[in-house]
């Protein structure tokens, strides 16, 4: 699968160019995220603007992408589309991730205090 990835200041912004994050692409997603996040200094923002659909496999892959991060790295989400937001809310995963309305909102906030 294809991703955009850029460093904005101290933040790594990763953008999946994929309409559907489901069981067919979940493993590839998690594997590629490992490479894309390896050198990120701290905050990683996953910009989900192009992803219109996530199923439980895709959700699991996003959780997996967070679990494989190194010490001091955090995975945050931005631009959840309505259906994707609903899956995060239903499964209470919206409480696990820091979620920003969009990419700009994620980039303008201060780094987390902790």
């Amino acid at each position: 699968m294809e991703f955009g990835s850029e460093r904005v200041g101290e933040v790594q912004v990763v953008t999946p160019h994929e309409d559907r994050l489901d069981a067919a692409v979940a493993i590839k997603f998690k594997d590629q995220m490992r490479g894309l996040t390896a050198d990120a200094p701290g905050r990683i923002v996953l910009d989900m603007a192009q992803v219109g659909f996530v199923d439980s496999s895709g959700l699991g892959a996003i959780v997996g992408a967070m679990k494989q991060l190194g010490p001091g790295q955090q995975l945050e989400l931005a631009s959840l589309t309505p259906n994707v937001e609903k899956v995060f809310r239903l499964t209470r995963m919206d409480r696990v991730f820091r979620i920003h309305a969009n990419r700009d909102a994620a980039l303008t906030i201060a780094s987390p205090a902790e």
Partner: protein, 169 residues
């Protein structure tokens, strides 16, 4: 504008994640053609995906991937939502019962967060009237994905559908 006269869609697919991926795009187009409203369509996509993922991962676990049509999916627009019938030739559900579908615990530290086990929880949250039967060597699952709350009244007031135009029996 009256609702589309098209009220049903039927699909056959192989028991692979790729076949499910392709079916989801097709089902989305069909549901739009059936004038299924966006909120219901979104819920339907998730339920269809979870039901089919489970069939591929469990009923066909260990089976050699094949493009043979192993699974049939029927979607029917109803007044209260979208009815779904799924038939497959895989293994029966354990104890011939649908999984409980409890939500995995996500209260622990990051390294203990669940990466799976959400499927049947999501199905049960978004559907009603679940019925599972094993008939011969076929699994049959029926369910209704109800219209999200609040939409029914709004729709009834905003655009009345004349009898006979929405195709419901």
């Amino acid at each position: 504008m009256p609702a589309s006269v098209v009220t049903n869609a039927s699909f056959h697919l192989g028991a692979t994640p790729e076949a499910v991926h392709d079916l989801l795009s097709m089902a989305r187009a069909n549901l739009q053609f059936m004038d299924v409203e966006p909120d219901l369509l979104g819920n339907a996509e998730v339920v269809i995906a979870e039901v089919l993922n489970n069939i591929v991962e469990h009923a066909y676990a260990g089976a050699a991937p094949t493009n043979k049509a192993e699974i049939q999916v029927d979607l029917m627009r109803r007044k209260r939502g979208l009815a779904m019938l799924v038939l497959d030739h895989g293994r029966p559900m354990p104890n011939l019962q649908l999984p409980q579908g409890s939500l995995p615990n996500a209260d622990g530290p990051v390294e203990d967060l669940p990466e799976g086990g959400f499927g049947w929880f999501i199905i049960r949250e978004l559907s009603r009237g679940l019925q599972y039967r094993r008939i011969g060597n076929v699994n049959r699952l029926r369910l209704l994905i109800p219209k999200p709350a609040g939409e029914e009244e709004l729709e009834a007031g905003a655009m009345p559908i004349p009898f006979g135009m929405n195709g419901s029996a």
